[in-house]
Symmetry: C2
Subunit: 468 residues, 2 copies
């Protein structure tokens, strides 16, 4: 074991620090594939931390697939993460908005060129290349800017207004829109405008990067369990500064927050004086009902609405948006002014050009058709076995329910052996997982790869559940 | 006066908060042009802060030109800042990297379309539009990315390596380069990797945004005075985590850090175990001697090198770079991984395309020729009166030395009356200013505007100094 130093002065939980350190040790080669980790008890004693800390760190690495536990014989390193640090920097794996870490990628999957079915990758296959080129050409029409811009390109904000009206049914004033570098950086910016130590509720399970961005800003994150109808507004604790949620397609479980809950959340926000951060993840991509009114439509005074182009187009553009009340915008602009951090205009220009030529609307139609067909393929491949599927009415991922944590880890491993990368539910929980399953994203791979990959997943599930 | 609430729990100095609040009040209309502010003594009593706080806030607003002091009759609001908050958001003024706030812009200057001679704006006039279009077209050749990327586009990092070798004499491995969103955001990212409360030395006077970004991350900023030869390495206090400096063309005074100081700084960093953050501001733009070896060449183990395309091209691209040792890169990548913040690739693609076609090298040659000619025009217009000029051997700004703070404020106001925006030295100090003068940037305006604007500055200086 390499020496491990934990920093008790930061806001980063010790378990997260420990998992980071072990991952880094595996990446740098101080831990190698096949090495046995000390028991959680021994390591806890060595580091003078509680065993909860070491157990949580090991669980995290287990869920990510870097280590495996063998019953009765300890925990072993099974794969080495790609390294970002020493030597030539490897291109980062793991996706921008919705996927958090390099997950399990065993040696066989790497050798055979595995198929990545983790959620969070957009379907770039359906983006028309001629439209893409047209948009970049048009983006060069405006001369280079001499001045920086904290608000965002006017044409981009106008395109966002049009997009919100057409696809999300929300009228907005261009003056209420700020460009961002994407949803996660928007969360980090919002976090920086809240007082340190403030309490922010986050869905449990929920979006891990949102939790981390909030914690990195010194906020206190409170996980709020979901009931069968999503975020339970009545269960929200008092004294909140903000609630972060994904009402359109809860990440990761995929529920649509019902209308009465939406109204209740906005009313509660007004009564208690907290902000609602509505991450409109997958909002453009419903397959069943007409979209419910956005939280931001119901409560523009208390709701901050976040959107991104990364999931409907590509993370190349690094662009997203915030729609918020004047006081929130002013606070964000003060923060940008103070830190000099501004969203890049290059990607905003390209998005605006795509929208201006009608290419964005055409793309979204194609995208919905394609994802609808892919979803049908997933449901038909996996649903046939009677495995419960959750959250399949929208977006680009669903959850395959499994009986427990052991089955979850086993399915991840069995799929990886078949060259398919999946993501476990466990790591989306801040606390102990209360549900088990795998998160399956179907937007990312080439269409031709999807059917064989689904066959691999089906076989993995059958193997673990002991079905024929 | 509107109610003002100061937050004693944050790291933001009370004077900065107060100046922000007053600026916001003027922007929102709660303070109007012509309103008289309470005396610093009365306001200090009202807010239960020391009079140093109110005096510093007023001085800041005075230097920025929002208020003016009339001897014996108090301080009056003279202009309203553009608002970013309420109602339709006005496009932000004030420049990305080197200029901090909307500065004095009196009504006449606005009416007559004043000329902005504040430092920090690039010379977009010399950028060849055909090359600009070619670069965007080429940037569309690569398909949209499905995966995000914390490291940066490979072609961009290769272009940076080539640029550093050709224009800064530094060989670097592409693996040592991380793309950034620009220098200030790079400083903020580096700050986030240092322990909260760590001590960071910053040149005094120095780059205000760097100080703010460091403070916003909870670091303790120590201003380090400059002597006649720049940063005095022997005067650095003990216990530093980092030193931020601009050795190529000190901002704002314009000195070139001599070679012996460079060696001493690197040796001290090694001995004391601190990081040197080398902001290579204006490094590409020297008019006299061949460039001195970069700090990063002398001490790649202890120096983090920052560059940006905002000053040599345009802030539109939102791209810059960090060259750093493996441990620093790993810490930055962990922070990016944790917060999900990645530099936008759209601008990186455009920069890489410009470099690949030789257009970047041609542009830099044109830029140096143009800025050399502009500098000669400035020196000939202002130097004729025997006014001392500082820092005119490089870059795109110089300092016009003045006898004291009163003359500084008077020249700013006299120039503004003639439709010319200048920037005072005072606001670049964290503490009480020890030098007076105006900072004059000559890259931003159209060439045709420069001569008349310089005539205005000359007249303003003559008026204040009482010369014929």
């Amino acid at each position: 074991m390499p020496p491990i130093v934990l920093d008790r002065a930061t806001d980063v939980p010790l378990a997260v620090q420990l998992a980071d350190a072990l991952r880094a040790a595996a990446a740098s080669g101080s831990l190698r594939v096949g090495d046995r980790l000390p028991s959680t008890r021994v390591l806890a004693a060595d580091l003078a931390v509680s065993r909860t800390v070491t157990a949580a760190a090991y669980e995290q690495l287990l869920a990510e697939g870097w280590v495996q536990g063998r019953r009765g014989s300890g925990t072993y390193v099974t794969a080495a993460p790609p390294v970002g640090g020493a030597g030539p920097v490897a291109p980062a794996r793991g996706s921008d908005e919705r996927r958090v870490r390099p997950a399990q990628w065993d040696e066989r999957a790497t050798r055979t060129g595995g198929v990545d079915l983790r959620a969070g990758t957009p379907c770039v296959e359906v983006l028309d290349r001629a439209a893409w080129r047209r948009a970049w050409r048009a983006a060069a029409d405006a001369p280079p800017d001499a001045e920086p811009d904290a608000v965002g390109v006017a044409a981009f904000r106008a395109a966002v207004v049009e997009h919100l009206l057409r696809h999300r049914g929300m009228p907005a004033d261009p003056g209420a829109v700020l460009a961002t570098s994407g949803s996660t950086s928007a969360i980090a910016e919002l976090a920086a405008t809240l007082p340190r130590g403030a309490r922010v509720a986050v869905e449990e399970p929920g979006y891990q990067r949102a939790r981390w961005a909030l914690q990195a800003a010194g906020l206190h994150v409170l996980p709020v369990p979901l009931d069968g109808r999503g975020l339970d507004v009545a269960a929200l604790p008092a004294g909140l500064a903000a609630v972060y949620c994904t009402p359109a397609h809860q990440y990761p479980l995929g529920a649509l927050l019902p209308a009465d809950r939406r109204v209740a959340l906005v009313e509660r926000a007004r009564a208690d004086g907290f902000l609602v951060i509505e991450d409109d993840y997958d909002g453009e991509l419903r397959f069943d009902v007409a979209p419910l009114p956005l939280l931001a439509s119901l409560g523009p005074d208390v709701v901050v609405h976040l959107g991104t182009v990364s999931k409907i187009l590509t993370p190349t553009l690094g662009a997203g948006w915030i729609v918020a009340a004047p006081a929130v915008r002013a606070a964000l602009l003060r923060h940008r002014e103070r830190t000099g951090q501004r969203p890049s205009r290059a990607g905003q220009r390209v998005f605006a050009a795509l929208a201006a030529h009608g290419d964005l609307a055409r793309h979204l139609r194609r995208l919905r058709t394609e994802l609808g067909a892919r979803r049908a393929a997933v449901v038909s491949a996996l649903g046939a076995d009677g495995v419960p599927l959750r959250g399949d009415r929208a977006g680009a991922h669903l959850v395959v329910g499994l009986p427990g944590a052991a089955e979850e880890v086993a399915v991840l491993a069995a799929a990886a052996r078949r060259g398919v990368l999946l993501d476990g539910l466990a790591r989306h929980f801040a606390g102990a997982p209360t549900a088990a399953g795998v998160v399956l994203g179907y937007a990312g791979p080439a269409r031709s790869q999807l059917e064989p990959a689904l066959a691999g997943v089906t076989a993995a599930v059958r193997e673990v559940l002991g079905r024929p």
